[in-house]
């Protein structure tokens, strides 16, 4: 005890003992490393009609795209390929420039087709997309 106090007085340049703090910091570090998640989701923004149950919001100026149960896409009462949606949207938005797009999907329409259509509409330059479902 006595010797230790002497030694401490002699080597006062040591400063405080860092070991407990170091233990603590390394524990914190390990905690944050193992809880770190580097997931970042990519997503598409789609609107829903504001009412709780979907009101048939058939604003006349919106471009309507229908998706059927089997994944068929109908624009303007014609069946089109999903890759042709972009061209159709571009044509129709040239006629009425600031119109939104209304996607009417069937209850069991596959989400893959829905996302492809949204993607195509984005490529066609319209980001105001509303999505409703009907049976």
């Amino acid at each position: 005890m006595r010797r230790r106090r002497d030694a401490g007085a002699l080597e006062s340049s040591h400063g405080i003992d860092l070991a407990p703090m170091l233990d603590f910091v390394i524990n914190l570090l390990i905690f944050f490393i193992i809880t770190a998640v580097f997931v970042k989701e990519a997503g598409l923004d789609v609107n829903r009609p504001t009412g709780f149950e979907q009101p048939p919001e058939n604003a006349p100026e919106s471009i309507q795209i229908q998706i059927l149960d089997n994944g068929e896409v109908w624009v303007d009462n014609r069946p089109v390929d999903t890759r042709a949606v972009r061209a159709n949207v571009e044509r129709m938005s040239a006629v009425s420039p600031d119109s939104g797009v209304l996607i009417i999907a069937a209850e069991r329409a596959p989400t893959g087709t829905l996302v492809e259509v949204v993607d195509q509409v984005h490529l066609g330059g319209i980001y105001d997309i509303t999505f409703i479902t009907q049976n």
């Binding site: 030694a7 080597e11 040591h14 860092l18 170091l22 910091v25 390394i26 914190l28 570090l29 944050f32 490393i33 809880t35 770190a36 998640v37 580097f38 997931v39 970042k40 989701e41 990519a42 997503g43 598409l44 923004d45 789609v46 829903r48 709780f52 979907q54 998706i67 999907a105 069937a106 209850e107 069991r108 329409a109 596959p110 989400t111 893959g112 829905l114 996302v115 492809e116 949204v118 993607d119 984005h122 490529l123 999505f131 409703i132 479902t133």
Partner: protein, 138 residues
């Protein structure tokens, strides 16, 4: 052993820990500020592909919809009617969260619409549909 305990008294007090401590604390700060507490879904689903999908910094509440309509969030399967309660609770905990719904390619659009409505009813209006911007279509 005995000799060793006595020997270093005069000259040596171990290696210098200061640089290691600096480095460790920097690492610690890095991990603290990059932690985002994402609520993962717990399952893997086959995401649809979309070229225009954007990465979102705030989308940290993930809800997965499987092909058969099962809903998974926060590493457990939940019922559609429970989604709203869960979202309300999480929204109170972290009000600036937004939701990303990860729906399987073959999942029905009706279930997607219902989950979106439940999330909105739970108080979060920022809802996006997940898509994979790197997939080569199809």
């Amino acid at each position: 052993m005995h000799a060793r305990r006595h020997a270093p008294e005069s000259e040596d007090h171990g290696i210098d820990l200061a640089p290691m401590l600096d480095f460790t604390i920097n690492l610690l700060i890095f991990f603290i500020i990059t932690t985002s507490f994402i609520k993962e879904t717990g399952i893997t689903v086959f995401r649809p592909a979309a070229v225009t999908a954007e990465f979102r910094d705030t989308g940290n509440l993930l809800i997965a919809i499987r092909e058969n309509g099962d809903i998974w969030m926060d590493r457990q399967q939940v019922e559609l009617r429970d989604v709203r309660t869960l979202i309300e609770r999480l929204h109170i905990e972290r009000p600036d969260d937004s939701v990303v719904i990860i729906a399987d390619r073959a999942a029905g659009a009706g279930m997607l619409a219902r989950v979106m409505d439940e999330v909105r009813a739970g108080g979060i209006t920022q809802v996006a549909i997940a898509a994979d911007p790197n997939a080569d279509g199809g």
